[in-house]
């Protein structure tokens, strides 16, 4: 029989880290139990997996690590429902279930030879982090032009991956712009919403792709800015969320028109989305 796509592998939760000051987002580090599992789990930045908290259920989350970081997977998850709450409360050392990798990924082949601007807001930064880490890897960095990351959160405490952001500040291979919504004590970087900051700091659209991920309001107001900067819809990518169960394009709930977000997405270009019903 073929591999059963409903059967999760078990991975060990080695770190359950409180990621944000409001304690609403934790980053889980999961370790592969054996080489075979790891070899079977070949993934790319932008893909997601179904995590099982045994006894509670299963839910889909974007993979926050890049395939250039072997041995582990990381997921940064907001406390929202039954499964995410159970994961937040889980003791390190506990086994969790993982099905995947699922979905498509950011078109890193298409991006080759181009500049990239990655625009993220709030906790939608997870697979964008994976993308940036993938491109910054010495094996891949030469494939791409300038990499700009514009990342915002409501306040400094809500930014994910603070240590990594600090390292990127001093990394000549990446141009990091961070912003918060309102001034805060001790904050010396940008203040303002993502769309207006993007307008101020975005690189030229010539030979450049944009990847945008964040809350719907942020996306809604950032897209017109990118259009104004002459980014064509074919060169703007985003990643969508939907309620999902199977993750295999079968259970029927995550479609937008003919496309299943789990199987045909979650990554879509704005050109693709323009041809689909606005039902997401």
């Amino acid at each position: 029989m073929e591999q059963n796509p409903y059967l999760p592998i078990t991975m060990k939760l080695t770190k359950n880290l409180v990621e944000t000051e409001d304690r609403n987002i934790n980053t889980f580090t999961l370790e592969f139990l054996n080489k075979q599992d790891e070899e079977n789990f070949k993934y790319m930045p932008g893909q997601f997996a179904e995590l099982s908290a045994f006894g509670y259920g299963e839910a889909p989350f974007g993979i926050a690590t890049s395939p250039t970081e072997p041995g582990i997977l990381k997921f940064s998850v907001a406390k929202v429902g039954c499964v995410s709450n159970a994961l937040h409360l889980m003791e390190e050392g506990t086994m969790v279930g993982v099905r995947g990798p699922m979905g498509n990924y950011y078109p890193v082949e298409e991006f080759k030879g181009k500049n990239l601007v990655i625009i993220g807001g709030g906790f939608a930064f997870t697979t964008l982090r994976a993308l940036a880490v993938y491109m910054l890897d010495p094996a891949h960095r030469g494939d791409y032009g300038d990499i700009t990351v514009i990342y915002g959160a409501r306040n400094p405490g809500l930014l994910l991956y603070k240590e990594e952001l600090a390292a990127w500040e001093n990394n000549p291979n990446i141009n990091l712009v961070t912003t918060i919504d309102r001034p805060a004590e001790g904050w010396t970087k940008h203040v303002g919403f993502i769309p207006s900051i993007t307008e101020q700091v975005a690189p030229s659209s010539v030979n450049t792709y944009a990847v945008v991920c964040g809350p719907p309001a942020m996306i809604k107001f950032t897209l017109p800015v990118l259009e104004k900067l002459n980014f064509p819809p074919e060169r703007i990518y985003t990643s969508l969320e939907m309620r999902m169960k199977c993750g295999l394009g079968i259970c029927g709930r995550c479609n937008i028109g003919t496309e299943y977000v789990c199987k045909d997405g979650p990554v879509f270009s704005m050109a693709q989305l323009k041809d689909l019903p606005s039902e997401y």
Binding site: L7, I250, C251, T258
Partner: protein, 337 residues
């Protein structure tokens, strides 16, 4: 070619040590497909089953995996179980429905082993319809009361005997040499009559897919669903509806992950954890139902996902009628942007 029912029944019963026999039986509330011990228990005169035989391959409720937790450790077990099965007496609409489900449970990337293991281990014996209900409209969906598409063996009831046609290698392998005899002229006339029959009820789906390409924002959807209760009966009784939920059943340290039928007519079906719901109204959900069956499915799989069995019409508590809704799409005025 013909075989007596008695001889056919003996052949099927002779396989009972290898195959379970699932066939139409009478029960409270109607006819349904159930396991029977002997061919003599099979109901021979029935319009169609209340629920389609899809549940044999895609049960209303099934365990996918089970697990036992021990401290921080867990042991996970695959719960897929398969029995070799003869599925007897499937009507043409439902046999075609299985072919459509085949396209759902296998896509460009994945194959669902629970569905396919059962499907591959089942021989489908189809049965032509001698009685046609006023709600049947399979003739409009490229079928007929005697189409053998989707069956491995196809029968036409001749009273004491069947006209038997082997359709697939799988069907041929099941029964071996049956010693069939020729039809009499009278029987041939009966077979011809059954084969030429059409449903009296008809709808026009010749241009519906192209029409729906332009109808996502059409006002037609506004009032269509007003009386719909969102009870899901239409989906559960549909031979091609396949949406499901996956949830957890837990008792202390052990549990299972189960799959149950779900439906696009239910508000929770698409509700995000954030509270956002892309299909938050019954209007959006009815549009999804129609779009999926008559447009999205055609674009993705090349077929309309309706077989004209009429179950949704017969079972709807508020008399919504798929034929009228199709007709409404045909008549809807396109909105010029």
């Amino acid at each position: 070619m013909k075989i007596s029912k008695e001889k056919f029944g003996q052949s099927v019963d002779a396989l009972s040590s290898d195959y379970r026999l699932i066939a139409p039986v009478s029960e409270a509330g109607g006819v349904n497909y159930k396991a029977v011990k002997s061919f003599s228990d099979v109901k021979q005169d029935y319009l169609n089953s209340k629920l389609p035989p899809k549940s044999l391959f895609f049960p209303q409720h099934e365990k996918l995996i089970s697990y036992v937790k021990n401290g921080k450790d867990v042991t996970v077990k695959n719960e897929l179980k398969v029995e070799k099965t003869i599925l007897f007496g499937v009507r043409p609409c439902d046999a075609k429905g299985l072919l459509l489900l085949d396209k759902v449970f296998k896509n460009d990337q994945y194959q669902d082993p629970y569905y396919y293991e059962r499907r591959n281990n089942t021989v489908v014996i189809g049965m032509a319809c001698k009685t046609i209900a006023p709600t049947c409209f399979c003739s409009s969906m490229g079928l007929s009361p005697a189409s053998s598409e989707g069956a491995d063996i196809f029968l036409i009831d001749l009273g004491d005997s069947y006209d038997l046609e082997i359709i697939t290698e799988k069907g041929k392998a099941l029964l071996g040499d049956l010693g069939l005899s020729e039809l009499t002229a009278q029987e041939q006339a009966l077979v011809d009559a059954v084969k030429s029959a059409q449903t009296t009820s008809q709808v026009d789906v010749s241009t519906i897919t192209e029409k729906l390409d332009k109808m996502f924002d059409n006002p037609y959807w506004e009032n269509l669903q007003e009386k719909c209760l969102g009870c899901n009966t239409c989906s559960f009784s549909c031979p091609t509806c396949h949406c499901f939920d996956i949830s957890e059943e837990v008792c202390q340290n052990s549990g299972s992950r189960v799959r149950t039928w779900d439906a696009c007519m239910a508000p929770l079906f698409t509700l995000h954890g954030s509270g956002h719901n892309p299909r938050s109204t019954q209007k959006a959900r009815w549009r999804q139902r129609m779009m999926h069956k008559f447009n999205y499915f055609v674009h993705n799989n090349g077929d309309i996902a309706c077989v004209g069995c009429g179950r949704c019409i017969r079972s709807c508590p508020v008399n919504m009628d798929m034929r009228q809704i199709i007709d409404g799409v045909n008549k809807a005025e396109l909105v010029v942007e």
